[in-house]
Amino acid sequence: MMNKSFAVTLEPGTSLENHTGSWRTLRPVNVFKLPPCNKQCPAGENIQQWLYYAAEGDYEHAWRILTEENPMPACMGRVCYHTCEGKCNRGFLDESVGINSVERFLGDYALEHKLAFKRPVKETGKKVLVIGAGPAGLAAAYHLRHFGHTVHVVEQAPEAGGMMRYGIPVYRLPRNILDAEIKRIEDMGVTIECGRKVPDIEAEKKAGKYDAVIITTGAGISQNVDIPQGDTNRVLSALKVLGEIETKGEIQIARRVAVYGGGNTAVDVARSLRRIGAEPVIVYRRNRDKMPANEEEMDAAIAEGIQVKWLSTIAGATKDSLKIEKMALDENGYPQPTGEYEELPTDAVVLAIGQNVEKDILAKLEGLNMERDNIVVDPETMMTSLNGIFAAGDVATTDRTVTHAIGMGKNAARGVNAFLKGQVYKKQPKNPDAKFEDMHPWYYTDAPKTVRAELEVARRTSTFDEVQHGLTEENAIFEARRCLSCGNCMECDNCYGVCPDSAVVKLGPGKGYEFNYDYCKGCGVCAQECPCGHIKMVPEQI
């Protein structure tokens, strides 16, 4: 027995009589903010959340969270231009988190461990037709199936995948990965019928007794430009070149090839041609700063020895050369002709200046609203001007990336799901932005970004082997742990540790904390010491 001092030493918990919470003028509350990566993700991925589970080493859980939004993480971890990383708050500290590389790791992990999507618990009996098995169509089919609907996808190409198969070169996306991720969607019970073009959508809908249709036919026609030419210089379209390389493994073209354009497709074409032994030159009318192509892809192209003629347009072509006109940017950054010309020895030209929507079957839909090259859709429900007919992907947007298509496909599925219940889909309001200024980054240790290994440049001119390698588990977990968890709790225990009143209550793993307002004096230390800005002090109503 202890010999207790009078009044100084008391039974445990005696101070609980003092409800110091009554002194409070500010109260801490947990706020959930929208991390900039999540906000930026065109597929609407909950990146911060799946990074959290990846950082815990719970890769399956991370993958399950990820695939709630995007069913193709292994593809995404390869072809997504990861604009999320450009918005990552960690960029203010050292370098952004390598979100894309962790996504690929999770995608590959799931394939390696043969993780499957759960089949729907209940069948709704509703039938939905999806036209086009590109990223938008596949995403829509996946989500619709998830809701319990019966989904049939019709694809005019011989195989599913859309631009992921016929546009993106193999060195960026190995086809076994693509095939496996498509197969996993099929395993949920989605049927994909390839090699058939739907001639009449209304008729197909009626005949198949579909309750709704989603048009995800993409933008598969290469845009043309009129090049005054003699009949001898070959002019090909980018999609023809990429498609032929995909199906035949090669293309008979020429040695010296000019690739006309500055977008991602131009870069894909040039890098593909390099691999079959050609000497491609990208001809682009503006400069590098103004180039729409992804910076990393362009860096890789230059590393592979691809030449670029900046500020150049093709004014004409003869048998073995192009007439190039030099351009100059005006004060608004637009290229203007200079009247100066030069010759570029070339045997062929590939046009990569954009793609158009195939309009023939759309034209048959009476009352379908189009705007320029796109179907007009309601931005929330993705429904077209025709009741029960929805659209997503390149056919309905000018923002034509795989990731954006997947996001649109998801939204269209949600729109259809609500429609099938006789409701109108409304997007959930977003949480306020998690800004770097609201965070307390002192607690984060410096940790440079993990760089993914790449195939040596010398070997890239002869093979279509995948250029970028994946992360090891060790690297992936390190990278995931670099996440600052902006605006969302990562259970670091800082609030719990610093609270002078022991008024922060731990709720257990994954459940976060709550405040015991009987004792919280509102000192705000927790809010100051929360690294991720998850705690906000709000005035009490007095």
Partner: protein
């Protein structure tokens, strides 16, 4: 065993002999060498079962000390000057909670302006903190007092500051007799806390006490101080018997028999004064020295006896109270209440100004000539230095020699 070593090393060895379980420290001159040495002992294994904690401030040092003492562990730390002030909040907590921490204060002036040299303004600033304050007149006294301090603190249930003059003692190399481990193990058994924080029998220490019991808590705290007077004497007697040392005690008299004048001094100045008193004795001047060891608790009764029927007492003070007067003198006056003893303050030795034998000699002659006419005198003030400023700035000049408080006050009236 006698060894010629630095005072700080001697104190570190003394602390190590006491087998503390936790030593925490933040460096500040002139205390640093002590904890550096203790740190070395821990690192080399000479001091076993001791956690040596480097902390990031004195506030943390006292906080760690409070935590470890409340956890039932023998605890030591050291500081000085501004470091002591930075600890102030925790210092009061430690005494209020009755935690027997031992802390060296290597006394040094408080800035600003910054001054690293010795006086007593730092330790005396904590006069009312509820800690015992034991002053050391030599390094041997410091070595012994540290050892006794642990026993006193643990017996009384209050923390102890061992105050030793910075640099003058801490950095001086002299012959020290360090007791053996066997002796100290016999003297100071392992610490058995009367209460401590443990999960086996949870208690809550230092929670709120309201007006209904706070006065009583303070009364009991003061009662410990009263008990401490007795404990200091007992422990000193025990220690002296064991080691043959002459250290410790509440106060120590030197040449006090039939002295015409007694000087009351704390700290290392006692040594200088003793030598000078021996010289004065040869001139036929009989002056006694009362070396005040325990400033808190203040030994009123022992002081009254030590002064006896001597009619004139000068308190040599190395700190004072701004807007007031001396700090030691009022305590001595309280001790001598009702007698006709004449008690005065001579302030000197501030911020490291050396107190020589000649200073003591002059002070004694000044006193015996009846020139201490006021309660408070600036004894070693240099009027040349003062006048170099006040003459031009305010047209005020001060005469040479010691200045009474009234001269300072008058200079303001006429300025």
């Amino acid at each position: 065993m006698l060894r010629q070593i630095e005072g700080s090393l001697g104190v570190a060895q003394a602390v190590a002999l006491c087998r503390p379980g936790v030593v925490c420290a933040y460096p500040i001159s002139p205390q640093t060498h002590i904890v550096e040495n203790v740190g070395k002992f821990v690192k080399t294994g000479a001091l076993k079962d001791c956690d040596f904690l480097n902390v990031e401030s004195e506030f943390s040092a006292i906080s760690v000390a409070i935590g470890s003492a409340a956890g039932g562990c023998r605890t030591y730390t050291a500081t000085a000057s501004q470091g002591l002030l930075y600890m102030a909040e925790g210092i009061y907590s430690a005494s209020g909670l009755g935690l027997p921490i031992v802390m060296t204060v290597a006394s040094r002036a408080i800035g600003g302006p910054i001054n690293i040299w010795n006086d007593h303004s730092d330790s005396l600033s904590q006069r009312d903190s509820g800690w015992l304050q034991l002053f050391c007149e030599s390094n041997q006294d410091a070595v012994d007092t540290h050892i006794m301090a642990f026993k006193i603190a643990e017996k009384v249930g209050l923390p102890v500051m061992v105050c030793m003059d910075g640099f003058v003692l801490t950095h001086a190399f002299e012959r020290l007799d360090i007791p053996s481990q066997e002796q100290i193990d016999e003297f100071l058994p392992p610490y058995e806390p009367r209460e401590y924080l443990t999960t086996k029998e949870p208690v809550s220490i230092g929670a709120m006490v309201g007006p209904e019991a706070f006065t009583e808590v303070r009364f009991l705290q003061q009662r410990k101080m009263a008990k401490a007077l007795k404990v200091i004497e007992e422990v000193t007697a025990e220690y002296r018997k064991l080691t043959g040392s002459k250290s410790g005690g509440l106060l120590e008299c030197y040449n006090c028999e039939n002295a015409d004048l007694k000087l009351i001094i704390m700290g290392s100045t006692v040594g200088t004064a003793k030598d000078e008193i021996d010289r004065l004795k040869k001139e036929g001047i009989n002056v006694g020295i009362i070396s005040l060891k325990s400033f808190r608790p203040f030994p009123y009764e022992a002081m009254r006896q030590a002064i006896g029927d001597t009619k004139q007492v000068i308190c040599l003070e190395r700190a004072f109270s701004f807007g007031g007067r001396g700090i030691i003198c009022p305590e001595v006056k309280r001790a001598m209440e009702g007698t006709n003893c004449d008690i005065k303050t001579a302030v000197c030795g501030l911020g490291g100004r050396a107190i020589y034998g000649t200073t003591i000699n002059a002070m004694v002659k000044h006193a015996l000539a009846g020139k201490f006419t006021e309660e408070f005198t600036w004894f070693d003030v240099d009027s040349n230095v003062l006048n170099s400023y006040t003459k031009n700035a305010e047209g005020v000049t001060f005469p040479e020699g010691p200045l009474g408080a009234s001269q300072l006050e008058a200079s303001v009236k006429h300025a």
